[in-house]
């Protein structure tokens, strides 16, 4: 596999990283991934440029809450990678979603389109506000089967939570889900995910909820709890500020499988909070806090996990796609770069990387391997081709 990394900024336009010469045309790229802020995508013909640069390639991307490049996290500009494969084929499936309740079906449809005996992995980018990420992941997974790794993320919109766009080999638009299938015996995937957040305070009971909308905890409106913990200043910044206190929820019947949930939206009138995934009634919930070091350490851990699975000798480049969470960005503030650095340290040397800050991460569960929606989590997906 050969990867060509490029970025774009308003000042300088497209430029490749210095270690690649512009004229040494790489072998024909089959797939291009790109990430940019919605404003950037709205104001510039990013997608068209890439189409022109890489004719014949599939061009897939989404809006973000920030882009991850080799050295830093940026809000402006575009981060992209062009990939050419020695033997692996790719296929792109996409669909539109009208309402959250369609999420499972959409996922299943995409999965069925991609399903094949030699399907090795799936990378998915989904609208971040109109989709129930856990249902999407479940639908995809049920269609492609357990043995196929699924990872990806939900598109973001900064801290605005307005609209998210996804480019499914077409101009980026909202309400779109795209899944890329990788076929062949040589393509290898690695996954890692880690949060680094800690629960604190009393265990509470989700006393009222519907799907991913939380009404009450312990009989009290959940929003009251959040506003109390945020304080008046930060409460005014909801829903974004709710990212500072993700919820750890768990099934009382399966107490060792915690899941982290992030707030996506807040309804001040109804006093409800919408999360990126299901918050089942009857489950217990605890507030979580993040500390800088621990978040960074988690990133490193995730990167290590993703790299550790590769035992074969690689043929060509290794790509790491980092899909991290907007909530982490908000907490870490300026020190967000720490986590990227930590991730880089966790990766095998020579691994290229790019990624974005999403509204929800899709990755296999660390224990069960079942693709799930994660929140507030650093997820790392490594891709390489086995030596022939």
């Amino acid at each position: 596999m050969k990867c060509t990394y490029l970025n774009w900024d308003a000042a300088q336009g497209w430029n490749s990283p210095p270690n690649l010469t512009a004229d040494a045309r790489p072998p024909m790229s089959q797939l291009v991934l790109y990430f940019a802020a919605r404003e950037t995508l709205a104001a510039n013909p990013v997608h068209a440029d890439l189409v022109a640069r890489f004719p014949g390639a599939r061009i897939v991307g989404c809006s973000t809450g920030g882009q991850i490049g080799r050295n830093d996290v940026t809000d402006a500009g575009v981060q992209a990678v062009a990939m050419s494969f020695a033997s692996t084929r790719i296929k792109v499936a996409s669909g539109n979603v009208i309402a959250c309740s369609d999420s499972f079906v959409c996922g299943a449809k995409l999965g069925l389109e991609l399903a094949s005996p030699d399907l090795a992995g799936v990378f998915v980018l989904s609208d971040g506000l109109m989709v129930n990420g856990s249902r999407l992941a479940a639908g995809l997974s049920s269609a492609v089967g357990r043995s196929v790794a699924v990872s990806g993320g939900l598109a973001g919109d900064g801290a605005r939570f307005g609209e998210t766009w996804v480019a499914a080999d077409a101009i980026p638009a909202k309400g779109v889900i795209v899944a890329v299938g990788f076929y062949g015996e040589d393509i290898r995937f690695g996954h890692g995910s880690a949060g680094g957040w800690n629960v604190f305070g009393p265990r509470r009971m989700i006393t009222q909820s519907i799907d991913n909308v939380l009404f009450e905890l312990d009989g009290q409106p959940a929003l009251d709890l959040y506003e109390r913990y945020l304080g008046s200043e930060e409460a005014a910044l909801l829903p974004g500020s709710a990212l500072l206190f993700p919820l750890s929820i768990r099934d009382p019947d399966a107490p060792d499988r915690d899941v982290v949930r992030t707030v996506l939206a807040v309804d001040q009138q109804a006093r409800t909070m919408t999360f990126a995934g299901d918050v089942p009634q009857g489950w217990s919930a605890q507030l979580m806090r993040g500390q800088f070091d621990q978040l960074s350490e988690a990133s490193m851990k995730a990167a290590r996990q993703a790299s550790a699975t590769h035992t074969d000798v690689a043929n060509g480049d290794c790509l790491a796609i980092l899909v991290s969470c907007i909530g982490r960005r908000l907490l870490l503030g300026q020190r967000i770069a720490d986590e990227v650095d930590a991730a880089v340290q966790g990766l095998a040397s020579g691994t290229g990387l790019l990624g974005f800050y999403s509204y929800g991460e899709i990755a296999p569960h660390a224990v069960s391997g079942v693709p799930q929606l994660h929140n507030q989590t650093m997820t790392v997906t490594t891709i390489r081709e086995r030596a022939a």
């Binding site: 830093d72 604190f200 305070g201 009393p202 109390r228 913990y229 945020l230 304080g231 930060e234 500072l244 507030l287 806090r289 907490l331 503030g333 300026q334 020190r335 770069a337 720490d338 650095d341």
Partner: protein, 788 residues
């Protein structure tokens, strides 16, 4: 340098490489602000968390208080429940401690309270109880188990007895928590009842098992449910199981007559029980027939519905056999074992009912002649043997359908069922006579008898058994009368005289015992004084149905049958008694029959009569007739002399009527002569009678004998006799023979009549000299009877 500040510097670097300080300051300030905010956030979080925790604590505490109250309530309710149970409860927890013991348990087990304080271990409790002798009534094995904590393996329920006699039922139940609950219940009453029941059962079992009588229980439809050893043996089996398995249906297999089962059941249903139900059954195993007597009853449930039958069975074979024997004996003659009169009559009745006039039956009455002689000479055993032999000979002559019976004594009867003709009957009769005439060998001796046969035929001579037998008997009588050793058929024309004779003969036997005889007394008077000097005792027979039977009729028969002996004895006794008793006569005259005189016991009899009546012998006179003296027996004369020696006077009766009256006077010294009436009132009046009387009186006077004239009925006769010199007279003129009770009426004195001539004077003189003193006179009744 902290990497953050490095990054910040990079951010703040201008395009020319310089650093925008303002931007850098902003970045750094922003970083500090982030830290502050983060700090504030943390603090707030901690505070809020603390608050929340406190709230949680408070609510938890409240919950604890509420739960504790609930628990206390629960505990109280639990304690109330446990303490108010009638059972003792003990709980043993996982660690073998005893956390719960209710008051009842303490009472039942008699455990002191201190032991329980401080929650002892169950083991300690057991040891304590053992030391106190709690388990003394139980066996060693139990006590060992208790001590070795094998109580963990004790059965879920068991009963033990306490030293105070109470029975405890101990139930142990394991709990899922690992502990145990034990309950103790006082079951003394139940235990006692159970034991009493068991004892009763044992008792009854003993009866059941050992009873000689068979006992059974059967279902309503005939299946045997239980059978005791006696019944099992009765049916020929060894074990109850064997018998129950073999017997399928009582009705079909047990009773010889299957209908008996229905009768049995009907009786049971009707009366609820059956007693002494005798049936013939098969001894089940061997099919041998035996008789049994059953008693049975219906067992009902408490609603009165029949549940089953129970009963007893006794082998009644012996009894039936005994009954049979009795029946047999009732119908058969014990000595000869041939049918007896009853059987004969029954059979005759049956045959008559069955028979038709065309084939009449013949009844033969057979009498053995001279049997009495055999009995007398050879003894009674010989007589018995003779009867048996005779019956066998008779049996051998008749056919299978005919019956030979012994009617009694030496009388037999034969029923010929189909003789076909009179000739056949006669032929048979000849055979019989022949057979019975042949000599019998009895104990080495030869005995020869004969027979007489009387025949009656059904239809001609009667149509009922009694009549036929009676007529055959009459025919027999005729045969005997006509000389014996012959067969006579019944003749309807047989004189009633013969029948009467037979009747008398039959009745005579019982007349004496029945007290049907009477003595009538006729006075003999001395004409010169008119006094009654003697009474002659005359025998009369008053039969209850027939009335007075004349001695002329029955006395000869009595003499023939030998009955005269006992009758004569009675006469003597009665006359002597009357003489000293009610009659009060100076003298009594009793007639003696020849038979009496020949009897060796006469002397003894007379003496006995005299003794028991205290009659002086001189007041007794015995009159005999010439026929007595005909045999010219030395014994006879010897007896007379003996009697006379006693002082008894002997008179010769009916003088002049016999062949050689005068010669008798030579043979014996009579005291008196009685002139027969024929001389007193001759049929042909003339002087011959008178002359004879005179001559007899003269002769008697010379010989020192008294003379009595009999049959004096008129005054003329008296005159004649007086002229002839007869002083003593007897006749209707002076009194008829009457019983003692009527003597008073007849007591009249005849006028004294002067006797002409010396005879009369003599007589008178005699009377003058002697007061009316008893002079032996006799009453006599001759064989030729005077009818009354």
């Amino acid at each position: 340098m902290h990497r953050l500040i490095a990054k910040q510097i990079e951010r703040a670097r201008r395009g020319d490489g310089g650093i925008d300080i303002d931007q850098l300051i902003d970045l750094v300030s922003a970083a500090y602000a982030e830290v502050d905010r983060d700090q504030a956030r943390s603090n707030r979080s901690i505070l809020l968390m603390a608050e929340e925790l406190e709230d949680l604590n408070a609510s938890l505490e409240q919950q604890v208080i509420e739960r504790t109250e609930e628990l206390n309530d629960l505990k109280r309710r639990f304690e109330d429940a446990v303490e108010n149970l009638d059972q003792g409860i003990m709980m043993i927890d996982r660690r073998n401690k005893v956390p719960v013991v209710n008051q009842r348990c303490i009472e039942l087990l008699d455990i002191p309270g201190d032991i329980l304080r401080g929650m002892p271990s169950f083991e300690a409790l057991m040891v304590f109880q053992h030391a106190r002798g709690e388990f003394a009534p139980m066996d060693d094995a139990f006590r060992r188990d208790v001590l070795e904590r094998a109580h963990e393996h004790t059965p879920g329920i068991f009963v033990r007895q306490r030293p105070n006699g109470v029975f405890l039922e101990v139930r142990t139940r394991r709990l899922s928590s690992g502990g145990t609950i034990r309950t103790y219940t006082d079951v003394t009453e139940r235990e006692q009842r159970t034991r009493a029941l068991a004892a009763a059962e044992q008792e009854y079992r003993g009866l059941f098992e050992n009873s000689v009588v068979g006992i059974y229980r059967s279902s309503l439809d005939g299946r045997q449910l239980r059978a005791n050893p006696s019944l099992v043996r009765l049916n020929g089996y060894e074990t109850e199981a064997e018998m129950l398995a073999a017997v399928q249906d009582i009705a079909l297999e047990w009773y010889v007559d299957p209908g008996r089962r229905d009768e049995f059941r009907d009786a049971l249903e009707r009366d609820g029980k059956v007693t002494d139900f005798v049936s013939e059954i098969y001894r089940h195993k061997t099919r041998e027939k035996i008789w049994i007597s059953e008693s049975a009853w219906v067992v009902r449930d408490n609603k009165g519905r029949p549940v089953c039958y129970e009963g007893t069975v006794i082998d009644a074979s012996d009894r039936i056999e005994a009954d049979r024997k009795i029946m047999h004996m009732a119908r058969h003659d014990a000595l000869t074992e041939i049918p007896n009169r009853m059987f004969f009559l029954e059979s005759l009745r049956k045959r008559l009912r069955r028979g038709r006039l065309s084939s009449p039956l013949a009844v033969l009455c057979i009498d053995l002649d001279r049997f009495k002689e055999v009995n007398d000479t050879l003894g009674h055993d010989a007589g018995d043997t003779l009867l048996r032999s005779a019956s066998r000979r008779l049996g051998g002559l008749v056919g299978n359908q005919d019956i030979v019976a012994r009617l009694g004594g030496d009388e037999f009867a034969i029923l010929l069922t189909d003789p076909q003709s009179d000739a056949n009957i006669r032929a048979m009769a000849d055979l019989i006579l022949d057979a019975l005439s042949r000599p019998f060998s009895i104990g080495g001796q030869r005995a020869v008898i004969g027979a007489s046969i009387g025949v009656a035929i059904s239809g001609r001579h009667g149509d009922n058994p009694t009549e036929l037998l009676k007529n055959a008997d009459i025919a027999l009588y005729k045969a005997k009368n006509e000389g014996r050793q012959r067969c006579c058929f019944f003749d309807p024309n047989l004189t009633s005289k013969l029948q009467r004779r037979r009747m008398i003969e039959l009745n005579l036997h019982s007349a004496l015992a029945a007290g049907e005889f009477e003595l009538h007394y006729q006075p003999i008077i001395d004409i010169t004084t008119g006094a009654t000097i003697s009474h002659e005792a005359l025998l009369r027979w008053r039969h209850p149905l027939i009335g007075l039977i004349s001695p002329a009729e029955f006395v000869p028969i009595a003499e023939e049958t030998g009955l005269m002996i006992p009758i004569g004895e009675w006469i003597l006794r009665q006359a002597c008694a009357d003489a000293t008793g009610a009659l009060g006569s100076p003298s009594i005259a009793v007639n003696l029959s020849p038979v009496q005189l020949r009897s060796p016991n006469l002397l003894t009899t007379v003496m006995s009569a005299l003794a028991s009546s205290s009659l002086p012998p001189e007041r007794l006179e015995l009159e005999i007739t010439e026929t007595v003296l005909l045999s010219d027996n030395k014994v006879t004369y010897g007896t007379l002399r003996d009697l006379k020696a006693l002082g008894i006077r002997i008179a010769l009766d009916d003088f002049g009527t016999g062949y050689s009256s005068l010669s008798y006077l030579q043979r014996f010294n009579f005291d008196k002569i009685k002139i027969d009436r024929s001389f007193v009132s001759p049929s042909q009046p003339g002087t011959t009678g008178l002359a004879v009387v005179k001559a007899v009186i003269l002769m008697a006077g010379d010989l020192g004998m008294d003379v009595v004239a009999e049959g004096v009925e008129t005054e003329d006769q008296v005159a004649t006799l007086v002229e002839a010199g007869c002083r003593l007279m007897q006749g209707y003129l002076f009194g008829r023979p009457v019983p003692v009770s009527q003597q008073a009426r007849q007591n009249h004195k005849r006028p004294v009549t002067h006797l002409s001539g010396t005879a009369g004077e003599k007589a008178h003189e005699k009377d003058a000299q002697e007061p009316v003193a008893p002079r032996a006179t006799t009453f006599k009744q001759t064989a030729r009877a005077r009818t009354i």
